[in-house]
């Protein structure tokens, strides 16, 4: 019991500490590709620390929804992170929720963020919320289907079971084609859900193109810090999903301290690799028009659907 609580707390701290690093890493990669030096590795941490200390400006048009949203978003994202295996394949809280729960917990945060976007009464916030609604509704089916395609092999939608069984190669006939399709689908979903190019651009504040940034336009100080941190956690969560669901090797399958420490190191390497890839994509591609995004996300949906069909066909 105490051991489980301890592991959960450690997982929470590891995720909280690692998430700004991933954001910084992507920025660093982009800076290098643009022949700039870029800010230091610790800059995202400095940003957060500074934002936490700053005054908060609150619009008089807003209600308690605006004030409560950063806390709800932060804690629902953190709860979702606790359900995902990071360095230990069977997380202590695995009984509390599966992949569908993770998706819907993230949706809880998105729901309140959409409300907060509308709360200030500015047209930008409404625009962001409205666009977030369409992007979210196109990504979530693809996300659930792609994980389910992998879950079929493991016989579970429970993330811990999927990761554990895959890590031990237990009772698994690896089916490369469906898995690769599901992987591609999940990667597209990741780009969309975390507001990355080519769906959204986290570095822009241009009125006509922003989605996520438009929703949180009215936030400042501590509230902004919580939202930024939650976004970083969400990004980390998706990268963790990709690396641990599709390539969990190296993750601790038993609760020994040494192995878990090793698990943390391996996981950091994997998510950093993915972060570099995202940095490359952000530098190489332009943002898509909003109504082109639907084709891109439709691709993810079709891929995940094909993954399931192929799974059954290959199994016969």
């Amino acid at each position: 019991m105490i051991e489980s609580v301890l592991i959960t707390v450690v997982q929470m701290i590891v995720a909280l500490l690692a998430s700004p690093f991933i954001v910084g890493l992507i920025r660093k990669v982009k800076a290098h590709l643009q022949c700039r030096q870029g800010p230091g590795w610790l800059q995202p941490y400095y940003d957060l620390a500074k934002l936490f200390r700053k005054d908060v400006v609150v619009s008089t048009h807003t209600s308690w929804i605006f004030t409560a949203t950063p806390y709800i978003l932060f804690s629902s994202t953190l709860t979702a992170v606790l359900l995902v295996p990071i360095f230990l394949s069977k997380v202590p809280l695995n009984f509390a929720g599966d992949i569908i729960t993770v998706v819907y917990l993230l949706a809880l945060g998105t729901f309140f963020l959409m409300l907060a976007g509308l709360d200030a009464g500015s047209a930008f916030g409404g625009m962001g919320s409205s666009r977030e609604a369409i992007v979210a509704s196109l990504t979530e089916p693809a996300m659930i289907l792609s994980i389910f395609a992998v879950g079929l092999t493991a016989g579970s939608t429970n993330l811990s079971t999927i990761v554990h069984k895959t890590a031990l190669l237990q009772g698994i006939v690896t089916d490369p084609p469906p898995h690769l399709m599901a992987l591609a689908a999940l990667f597209i979903v990741t780009l969309a859900e975390t507001g990355r190019v080519p769906v959204d651009n986290p570095a822009t504040h241009l009125e006509l193109t922003m989605i996520h940034e438009a929703m949180i336009l009215e936030y400042s100080g501590r509230y902004l810090a919580l939202i930024e941190w939650a976004s970083a956690l969400k990004l980390l969560l998706f990268l963790t999903l990709i690396s641990n669901v599709f390539a969990p090797w190296g993750i601790a399958t038993e609760r020994t301290p040494v192995w878990m420490a090793f698990g943390v190191a391996v996981w950091l390497v994997k998510v950093s690799g993915l972060a570099v890839l995202i940095g490359l994509i952000e530098s190489m591609f332009a943002k898509l028009r909003l109504f082109r995004v639907t084709d891109f996300l439709g691709l993810a949906f079709i891929l995940s659907l094909l993954a399931i069909i192929f799974f059954y066909i290959l199994r016969g």
């Binding site: 008089t60 932060f74 509390a96 369409i134 939608t157």
Partner: protein
Amino acid sequence: MFFDLSWIVHWGLLTVVGLLGIGIFLPSVFYRNAHVQNFVAHGAAMAGSVAGIALGIAGLLAPTAATFSVSSNLPLLTFQIRVDPLSSFFVLIISLSGLAVSQFAVGYVREFEARYSIGTMGGLYNAFLLSMILVVLADNGFFFLIVWEIMSLVSYFLVVTEHEKAETRYAGFFYLIMTHVGTAFIIVAWLVFYQQAGSFSFEIFRHPPAPIPEGFRTLIFATALIGFGTKAGIIPLHVWLPYAHPAAPSHISALMSGVMIKTAIYGLVRVYFDFLGGAFPWWWGFLILTIGAVSALLGVMYALMEHDLKSLLAYHSVENIGIILMGIGAGMIFQSYGLPHLAALGLLAGLYHTINHAMFKGLLFMGAGSLVHATHTRDMEEYGGLIRKMPWTAAFFLIGAVSISALPPSNGFVSEWLTFQSLFLSFQIPDLLLKIILPISAAMLALTGVLAMACFAKAFGISFLAMPRSAHAREAKEVPLTMRIGMGLLAGFCLALGFAPMVVVPLLDRVTAGFTGVTIAEKIVAGGGFALAPGLGIGFASISTPVLAVLLAILIPAALLASAALGGRLRKRYTKTWGCGINLKPRMEYTATGFTQPIKQVFDMIYRPTVKLETEMLEESRYFAKRMRFETHIEPVFQKYLYDPVVKVLQKLADRVRVIQSGSLHVYLAYIFVTLLVLLLWVR
């Protein structure tokens, strides 16, 4: 113990019928004082609902079904009543909603006191509740049809309460026709049973003397689907819902949308699982599942485009009926492949969503009623900023919105999750097509879920947040305490159903066990009673909403404390929202139309929107518009291509038939004479 339960069932039944019966007639006695009528009518309804809750719980727990029967002078008709787990469960749903809605009605009906007879309204209200309870309790086909028809007629009268409005009369007429088309199909189903089994008693339907041939079983399946489907509002039989539910007074809408359409779900489960029992061809379940998936997806899509808050909620009823049918359809598919545990799971998921939908839809309709009460308009574009004027209503509406959007840890999440699981467990079916189809419908369910979330972000955000968009919204006031208590009750039930699935699942298991022959509650409720794991032996997945709720409840204050630790005391500055240098006006806010514009554009294949834009330019320059007029509509596909042709044919036929209707009394007398003559010749 057993004696006690049957005692409660016995007296509960008598008390419910007695109290609601009093509620029908007593209010008219106090015709001088509308206040007293209001209290008497809704007081009786509340007392009857409390007795109904006791009856429902006792009936669910009772080890055997209780039957009561009173014979009548009419042939074929006996007043047979049977209290079994399925009917008790629906009595419980009706009574829980009835209790809260009656409480709400005490305050809500006040504004009708000056205009309409409260004695009639209150009497009809009680008759409505009683007829719904009798529909689910009836154990005789003839008796069932009588109470079913009473339910339809009484609800029609309640829909046309505000009969001086032309649109209300139209809505009522539409409803009346549709519901009778449905009833006609149910009659056909019962007649087939009667012809095959030789009695109208449900007991004989259940155990016919000789097995019913496959063709007739299919006929019963189809007619029951159309008959009950019309009441439930499955697509394409849903067209009456978005008219009738908004036209009715809001407490009636809450009952119609939350409860009345559930009697159709009851009818379907009763006919398919109880009467036709078990051995279905696989395509029955497949058809139900497909209809469910289509209804869910199209229902939410049309809801997104509605700006009339009550029509929006009515379309969400179509959506949720679809989700319920997905669970039931999956259960039927499993049943036909001889997988009773999974069949029980699918049916259980559907029934769980049934009670959940009754709770949150009732709550949301009462919230909408409160908004109408406060602003005197149903148009969302005229709301705005109401969270400050009506904080309680806003909080309750938010609970309803989170629940219907299936966000954890709400009750909607639990039942949708169970539906997801029963769809994913399809890999155990030995049929490739179904193995692939079921995950696809799960994807449709996922899309439905997210779109519902978007729709309620719109409904809540546009109605309650930002600045008031009209004078109505600026002058709105919080609704009286009686109405708030009504909403609070259902909000509480929603939360309880979300946090305590381990209590609900064993109760539902008693319902499904009777049809599938297996109990699954011990297998599903895992983790010391705190988690649900419907793997049924293979450990597919589990959730625990209590743990999720506790985690959120710990982490939110933890986030508050941690940010205080990191940044010290929170200093806030208040200013207006930045409006790019000009004063921010309500007209600059995002509208409900604007909010759903991207969705409309992406799915324009379904919506087929027509846009009309007229621009009048200044004479001096063709770059400056003097006036612009923008109009947009979405095409009502089903009405245009499915109903209008039928109506046209009917009208043409009526024109032909009118030839014999000359209007002259002599001609009619001649008709009667000729008919008499023909009949006399016939019998000779």
